[in-house]
Every structure is written in structure tokens, then in C-alpha cells.
Amino acid sequence: MNHSSMETPELSSGSMRVGMYDEEFKKFNWSLLIIQAILVGIGIYNLISATGVEDKSLGLYKSQLLWFGMGLALTALTLLPHYSIFSRMGYIIYFGNLLLLAAVLVLGRSSLGAKRWIGFGGFRVQPSEFMKISMVICLAKYFESDKTVEGYGFRELILPTLLVMIPCGLIMMQPDLGTALTILATFGTMMLFLKIRARTLMVIGICAVIALPLAYKFGLKPYQRQRIITFLDPSADPKGSGYNSIQSMIAVGSGQLFGKGYKQGTQSQLNFLPEHHTDFIFSVFSEEHGFVGGLIVLALYLGLLVNGLSVAYQSHDKFALLLSLGIVSMFFWQIFVNMGMVMGLLPIVGVPLPFLSYGGSSMITSMLGIALLTNVANKKFMF
């Protein structure tokens, strides 16, 4: 086993000799789990307020707690084996998830005009959420053995693009633009990291410029087009499609420095804020806890991303590195798009905020992400 760590090899090899578990415990990377615990704590605390409103969301924080419990069990399961098992099972996970996505379209339950859920006993899960992480595992696996060094060209991109486009297509059929975009963005990030040839990048760029208007015209559903128009000028239709964006900005802004107080957020408690327990959860939090609260959440996410990146940076094999990087990128895009959206920086796209938005599948996916990162972090001296 080769390793070229920044830590001293003596210490690591010594620990191996003395007793793996003690040392492993000592070296156990708690930081991501601690950040996750704080975020989940804040999330539940905030959901108690957000789901105290008398509407369909009433009391939903309880099921969020249940999902968190299940997430903890899955975290433990994920931490036990060496992460290489995910490399070995990469394609199985991917195809399994694909099957689930297909099942959604056949057996799925509709809600708000979209078919996203599939029932498992008493639970409803959203396979598209899991696909975010399955995709990262699959891509890490795919590129692990790939030897391209000089940067990727079109030919080398065909297969991975296909791997990504199949689930994205299935997800778009639900339709769930937010999740599909998250997966695409994650893929894009990973590809950029792996380096794409300059010429290829240019061609892609030009194609994108040409394709965007066409996609806008033919690829998007009318309500999706409306969202983009609304984003460009929310005041064009303040009572209609611009309503959500404006109300969300008002919610955030009206929190001012210290917020209106717990459960005192008028925008959320009086239903001016739409989807206040899912996509717009950050608006609820920043309305009630102000800039100070928002800053804390932002700092926690920064901590999460930086810690995740450092795990990726310190990983010793390509799979671990790509896996960690992909997971961080998955978190990054969700955080950036969601917060950008509720603050009026980006158009309204249904992307949950990890650990804060209500939603079991999102919670499980995010927790699995942290668990995988922690697994990678813990195994870096085990080669």
C-alpha cells in the first residue's frame, strides 16, 4: 500500500500495529458529522415553526425526525465497510436507482401535478433524490479506471454523458427540473475538474448558446418558462407568478438584523410565503432569525463544503477523490441554487436545502453524502 500523506507515516503505521479500532476512533473525522448534527438541529427547530402553520404541512417536523433516525442507521451502515465497496457496487447502485426512476413513472404517486414519489410500505420516497448520490458514485467509478490525462474530448465524453442523460431524462419526465439540473451541474463540475479539452469546451459553449433558446422554446414546460420570465422581472406580475419570489425576498429582508423571533415570522406563519416548509425554508429561518441566523447557517454550509473539499483533497485514490468532490459539488449546487432562489438571485427551481428543507429522501441523500465523506476521511491512512 502506497501512501504519500502529509501526516507522518510513522504515526499511521504505528497505529495500525497497536490496534486499528482505538486509533481509528481517535482519528475518526467528526467534523462533518458535527456540522450535520448542528444543521439538522437547526432544521428541526426551524421546521417546528414552519410546520406550525395550519395547512398541509402541520406537524411535519415529526416525520422529519423519523427520517433523521433512519438516516442515522444508514450512516452507521455506510461507515462500517471500506468505501471501496461503493466502487465495486457503483454500477449496481446506479442501475438499481434507474429502475426505481422508471418505476416512479409507472407506479408513482402524483402530487402537485408531478409524479415523483413511490411508496414503500408506509413511506414515500423520491428516487430522483437518491439519484444525485448514485450518479456521483457511478461517475466516480467510471472515471476511476479512466486514464485520460490530456483532457476529455467529445469521444471520451459520450459514455459518461449517456450515463447522466438517461436518469436526467427520466427525472425530467416526472417532471423535476431542479433535481435534474442538480445532477447535471454536479456532472459538469466533475468534468471540469477532470479537465475538458479547451476546444471541446468552446464547442460545448457555442452549442449551449445556440441550444439554450431552443431548449427554452421547446424543451421547457410553460410554467417553467414562466419562472424564468418571472425571475428576470418579478414585478411584472407580482400577484401571479412573481408572487413567490417577491414574498420570499420580503420574508428574508424583513428579518433584518436579528429576526422577528421564533414562530413570529409573519410571512411564513400567515402563509404569504409559499412552500414554506420545503423549498423556501431558508426564508422562514432568516425571517425569524435575521441576518445573524442567516450568517450562522451560511457559515455552517461553508464549513461543510470546506471540510468536504479537504476530505477530497486528502484522499489517496482517484475514486475517493472523485466521490468526495462529487458529493461536495452536489451539496454546493443545492445550497447555492436554493439560497440564491429564495433571495431572488436565481429563478425559482425546486431544489431543497440540505438538512433544512422538509423531505425524507433529501434528508437521507444528504446524510448518505456526509456518511460517505466521513468514510473516505476515516480511511485515508488505511492503505
Binding site: 414574498q247 400567515l270 435575521g290 441576518f291 484522499s315 485514490d317 439560497m339 433571495m343 431572488g344
Partner: protein, 672 residues
Amino acid sequence: MAFLGQEEQIREFQDRFKYVYAAVFIALGLLLSRLVFLQVLNGDKMRQYSEENRIKRVKVAAPRGMIFDRNRTLLTDNRPAFDLEVIPQYLRESKETDRVLTILSKLIKMPKPKLQEILDRAKGQPSFMPVKIKTDLSRDEVAAIESWRIDMPGVEVKEEIKRTNVHGDIAAHLLGYIGEVNHSELPILNKETQKYKLGDNIGKFGLEQRLEEVLRGIDGEEVKEVDALGRVKLDKRRGRVLDEDAGKPAKPGKNLILTIDQDLQLEATKAFGDKIGSLVAINPQTGEILAMISRPSFDPTEFSRGIPTAIWSKLLNNEFHPLRDKTLQDHYPPGSVFKTVTAVAGLEEGVIDEKTSFRCTGSMRVGNRVYHCHKKQGHGEVSVVQALTQSCDVFFYRVAQKLKSVDDIAKWAFHLGLGKRTGINLAREVPGLIPTEEWKRKRYNQPWNAGESLSVAIGQSFVLTTGLQLANLYAAIGNGGTLYRPYIVKSVETYDGRVLEEFNPEPVGKHELHAKTVELVTQGLWGVINSPHGTAYHQRLPGMDFAGKTGTVQLMRLSADKIYLKCQNFKFKERHNGVFVGFAPVKNPAIAVAVIAEHACSGSMGAAPIARAVIKAYLEKKFPDLYGQRVVAERLKSQGKSTFVPPTPPAALEDEDVVVNDDIEAVPGRDE
């Protein structure tokens, strides 16, 4: 697991991490700056937007001031009206709706399809907004609905304020009515300050209109917290946030205390029966209006919440114009009651005196024209007192001839308040008309015709007056010559009874009449009722002297052969108007009354009995020690007189007072 050669590649990868870190920091920095922008830089503005979202200001209608009579009898009140409303939100299932509508249709006796239709019409609006099903529920209906309340979710009885005229159609014209401000009125009303909104009520007639500023309260505002659907939240948790701005209470309008005596109003209305016309009673010592009615009338209460079209068109199409205030909005030729003015003019100008007498032969020739007296056979030799008592036309023709010109009559008519508005604080008063030579020159571009003076002397020709002017004229004669501006509002008070303003008698002109003039005229007017020759002798009140003058005014120009025909045989609208104006007691009068009874055929039979009833009621009430029924009876007994009131006189006397002139150029118009 690591492939061979990966170390190098990983090192290369690690090199790229700086870009990744940079991207993360830039992105989160962007989010942070947006947070600063929204919460720190624009926080105040956003907070205000969020307040505007949740805080709804609900108007609290201020009650209008109430109106009382001089004895604090309530005349105009704000009373609750009950409306039936259904909130569709509670009627989601069709079976439930059907059940509720079945019960409801029985309770308010409205067919079920109609109920369904009203609900269907409201389909477009949010389902939590109540739909008005029926207005003005009866008490029984309210009770029935309340008892079925539990079985009818979403059915509610809503209380609203209804401006109510407590005594129905009595004094309707005086009190007036209110109605909703309409589109065309708004810009004028809100010229200076934003005072009215669509849907607000405003006085549209009578005192309600004239004293809108006084009666109208200042609407308050209730601050309520609402959710995104506009529903009021009863959540107390955030209640304290609202305390800073708890709205403001409604300020009720000011109350009016009128000079009116409601007992007298009721008495006058009763005496009027179904006759058409008006009555005005004034206190001659002050100018206070004691009673003022115009018949036929209407019920202002029906206007207060939007008058139903059927009632409105019925009022409009009534040929006797119930919406007009006949006391001051309509001109009437005064007829013989004007002779008092001619007598005053003659006496004051010195062309006649106590001893002057003229011979009446039943007619008089001036030039080639014959001027008739109402008594065909003539009155014989008459003095001014007898002329007034018997209403001898010829005597007053002679007075007119003796006067320099018609302007001498006009001068005293003006002094006594005719020919111009009295200045009472009511809208749409007409000025009447007293012709002068100059007036005719201007109006017709013709010189005054000497014969016209004769017609003017007996209240015909161009002379036009209002009932109010006539009452005020006799009030001035009764008090010796002081003309007061008639007034209707005694005081203005706050809703809790604090006096804000009191109104006092306001003399508008004092033209002291010679005591002798007053004495002679009064004597003549006393005779009208109390002398066996008087035109209203049979209207006398034993033990209760009053003075007055009858007038019977022919409305159609009749050919000579019809002049003496019996009025009752004419078509109703062609019958003569009956006029009576008088005052009582004869000395220091406490009340002056003018009655105009349209198409009642005669002053003595049509108008005088109404005035008599009002005078009697007033004196009995006001001076029980002098005129109480028992006191009067005992006084008469001690004087050896019977309390028996003479029966209706023989028919021959009926048309005693008709002014029979064939020189009426035009039928007196009703134009203003």
C-alpha cells in the same frame, strides 16, 4: 485500490483544488452579500412590505348623529338591520349544500333554485367571502335562523346599521334620507380632502343633506392581522405586535335637537288625513318651526340601504309628487290670505283707516273689465275689519286703486317676508314672487296694468308664495311686525349629550307696524273665525280664540258661466286649493299655522280644520292651565255657554271665499 500511477494524477488533481475553493468562496460570498443587501441594507423597506402584507385596516363605520324633537323624542335613529349571508367555503359537498338550502328556503320563504342561483353567481369570488342572500330579515326570520344555526354550517346573520325614521313617513321631507355616494359626487366631495369612499353614505335630502357635516361621524379604523387569503387571524401570539397601532375608534356624528314638536307633527298628520299639501307651524315669538309636514310623503328608512326600484318608481310616478317638500319647494298663489298684506299696506300707507268703508255690490268695473267679488250679491258697506272677516274682494280692489301703485303692496309684502327665501336651513327653498312694476317691465317688457293691481290685492295674478312664507307672514303680524328667520335646529349636541351649539331667534327685518294696524288686522282675522259673518266661523274653538284667514284659490281659468259652479263637480286636479293661515292665542300668539290643502275646494272646509286641530292640540299642551280641556269646559260653563261646537254650516257657505277672476293670465306654475 489505488491504481498504479494514481499518485501523480492525484497530485495534479490536488493542484486544481484552489479553483474549487475559490469557486466555493465566491459563491457563498455572493449569497452573503445578497443577505446583507436584503436584510441589512433593505431590511426596513422589506419589514414594511411584510407589515403591509399582514395588516389590514378595516373601516369601522361611525354612527350618524341622531335627530330628536324639542322634547327629546327620537325622530331619526340608527337601528340594526339583519342580513342573511352564506359562506360557500362551508358548503363543499353538494349533499350538504342541498340540505342547508332546503332548510333555508323554508325559513326565509325563498325557493331553493333562487338560493342556488345566488350562490352560483358568487362562484368567481374566493369561497371564504360571504354571499349576501337576503337583506332586512324580520325578527322572526332571525330567530328561526338562529335556532337552526347548528344544522346550517356557513349560514350567518350579519348585523348592519339602518338609518331609521322612527315615525315612518312623518317629517320625511324635513329629516330627509341618506344614500350611497355615487361616482359623480365623489370628485366634488373629495376636492379638498379625501372624505368619502364609494359605498359611504351621505345625506341626500332634507336635514340629512343640509347638515351632513354635523351628522356625519368620523369613521374609525380597526387594525387586523390577516393571512395570505385575507382571513382575519385570531392568533394572540402576535397580538402584541399590533398594539403599537391599534387603529382608532369611530367618532359618532353629532346629534340634532330640533325645534319640532313631534306631538304636533303627529296631530297635524292625523288632521291632514289623505289630503294633499303642506302644513307649517311656527312659534311667532322666535321663528322656531314647531311642525312642518308635506303630504303625500315617503318613508326615509326605505332609502337608507338602497331603495328598492319598485318603491322608487312608485314614488316618482305618483302624480302628487311625494318627494317634493310642499312647504317650501312649491309655489302657490296665496289667494285671499294675501288680503292681510293689502290691508297692512293700505293702513300703513294711510290710504285707509279704521273708519274707511267701501260699498261692495258683488262686482266692480274697471275700464271695460268687470272684477267680481266671491259673493255674487255683494257684501254691502264694509270696513277693513269686516272686509277681512268676510273676505270681501271689492274692498281690497278699492284699496289697490287708492294706493299709488302695486309697489306699495309689494313693499309691505317684502317687509313681511314674501317674495324672497325665508332663509331656513333647508335645501331647495323657492323664493316666491311678489310682482312690482319694475319686475313686470323686466320680465315681460310691458308696463304695469292698473287692473293687475286689483288681482294682486287679493293674492292672485303673479303673486306666488310658499306655505312656509305664509306661516312666517302671519307669525310676523301676530307678534307685531318682527319677521324672524324660521329655524329648525334648536341645538347641536355630542353623542353623549354635551351641547355644542345652540341656535337663537334671528330677526331678519323689523318693520314695526303701527299698533292700530296690528289691532285692526287682528280684529279682522279674529272675526274670520269668531264672527258669525266670518268665512271660517264654523271652525271656531269655543273658549280658545284664534285668528286667521281663509283662502280658496281657483287653479283653472274658468269661463264666466262656470265661476260659481260647485267645486266638487270638477275633476280632482282642477279643484280649488284650500288655504288657511292663522295664529293663536290672538294676543301674544304662541303658534302660527299655515295650511295648504291642494284641491280641497275651500280654505274654510279644506284647510282650516287642519289648522284648527293643530292649534287646539298645541294650546292644550302648552297652556294646560288656560286651555286644558277641563279648564275650557269650566270657563264656558261659568260664562253660561255650551261646549257644543256648531255643526258644519249649510252648503251655501262653502265657496264663500273663492277668488273669482277671469283675468288670470296664466295658471300659476309650479316652477321654481
